[in-house]
């Protein structure tokens, strides 16, 4: 598939994040402080739409071009929760999850460059330390990874 197609999907996704409040510091704090329903509504409806769509696509088993649907579940391990906790603290501090970091940079929010720099250093550290992380996390073998998404 052409890179342009993926760029268009990314643009549509980024536009929607920008205009919905999902890439806005105040709306993220409003979600975590229970003063705004906006983000709960967005994520909730996205799941309500995606879940039956996925069920139908999996039952159908093929893509629009007839290829077999490539869809494997993410591995389950204690890192899902431990990493999730670290990410949640970071999401609150910055008011951005990974997609909105890039959307905020596009909008012109200069502080988002700090978040991107941090995220890249954080991911690089995780990758470099992968085989030295605590055994209690029971992370999958390196070639499998923690789950991609």
């Amino acid at each position: 598939m052409n890179a342009l197609v993926y760029a268009i999907f990314g643009t549509l996704f980024g536009w929607t994040l920008s205009r919905s409040g999902a890439a806005d510091y105040n709306y993220i704090q409003g979600m975590f402080l229970f003063t705004s329903f906006q983000l709960y509504g967005i994520i909730g409806v996205a799941v309500i739409v995606t879940a039956p769509g996925l069920w139908w696509l999996k039952r159908r088993g093929t893509t629009a071009f007839g290829a077999a649907l490539a869809l494997k579940p993410k591995p389950r391990h204690p890192g899902n929760v431990a990493g999730g906790v670290l990410f949640g603290v970071g999401w609150s501090i910055t008011g951005m999850c990974p997609g909105p970091i890039l959307v905020n940079i596009g909008e012109g929010k200069l502080y988002a460059l700090g978040a991107l720099a941090g995220a890249l250093v954080g991911a690089a550290l995780f990758g470099a330390l992968y085989e030295r992380l605590p055994k209690a996390l029971r992370l999958p073998a390196l070639r499998i990874g923690t789950g991609d998404g």
Binding site: Y6, A7, F9, G10, T11, L12, F13, T16, R19, S20, A23, D24, Y25, N26, I28, Q29, L33, Q38, Y40, G41, I43, A46, V49, G53, L57, T63, G79, G83, G84, V85, F87, G88, G90, W91, I93, T94, G95, C97, P98, G99, I105, E107, G108, K109, L110, Y111, L113, A115, A119, G122, A123, A124, G127, A128, Y130, L142, T146, G147, D148, G149
Partner: protein, 167 residues
């Protein structure tokens, strides 16, 4: 009302419908599972040569994740251009009102949070998109557990910062 030009947001139902539709179309048309945080690994792989960044999943997804990430930036640019014009700015809403640090402080705060996002999402194997939207919709237990963990941690942190720290 958004920090960006003070414009009104889409209704949450419209935004959720759009994000769900894009997620499904991405899978149906391109056979790719939505997920953004792995894109950090694709970016890292450009300069860091650790074995983790030479896994098949990283080398095999660069061709689509990098243009997708570029699209996210472009979506933000277009959103600003069409709502009052693009210009760089530092406004941070509630943070300015309650904490009020200048640009250097904001960059440091954001960098610290970013470290946790990069390290945490990769340990968790996904973020709001891959676990929260796709994984939960696909009824994956790892995604449900991870989403509950990052939502709970976000709720605790924001309450510590704004209800205890800044009051």
């Amino acid at each position: 009302m958004l920090i960006l030009h003070g414009i009104e947001t889409y209704h949450w139902a419209v935004a959720g419908l759009a994000l769900g539709a894009i997620t499904l179309l991405l899978l149906w048309v391109t056979n790719q599972r939505l997920g953004i945080s792995t894109g950090f690994e694709n970016l890292c792989a450009l300069v860091v040569k650790a074995p983790y960044f030479r896994r098949a999943e990283v080398t095999g997804s660069t061709h689509w994740r990098l243009p997708f990430l570029g699209g996210l930036v472009l979506g933000g640019v277009l959103s600003a251009v069409t709502s009052g014009g693009w210009a760089p700015f530092w406004d941070l809403g509630l943070f300015d009102e309650a904490i009020g640090w200048g640009p250097a402080g904001k960059l440091a705060w954001m960098f610290a949070g970013g470290l946790l996002i990069g390290f945490g999402t990769r340990m968790a194997g996904g973020c709001t998109s891959g676990h929260g939207i796709f994984g939960i919709s696909n009824l994956e237990r790892a995604s449900l557990e991870s989403t509950l963990a990052f939502m709970a941690a976000g709720i605790v942190t924001s309450n510590l910062v704004y209800r205890l720290g800044a009051s």
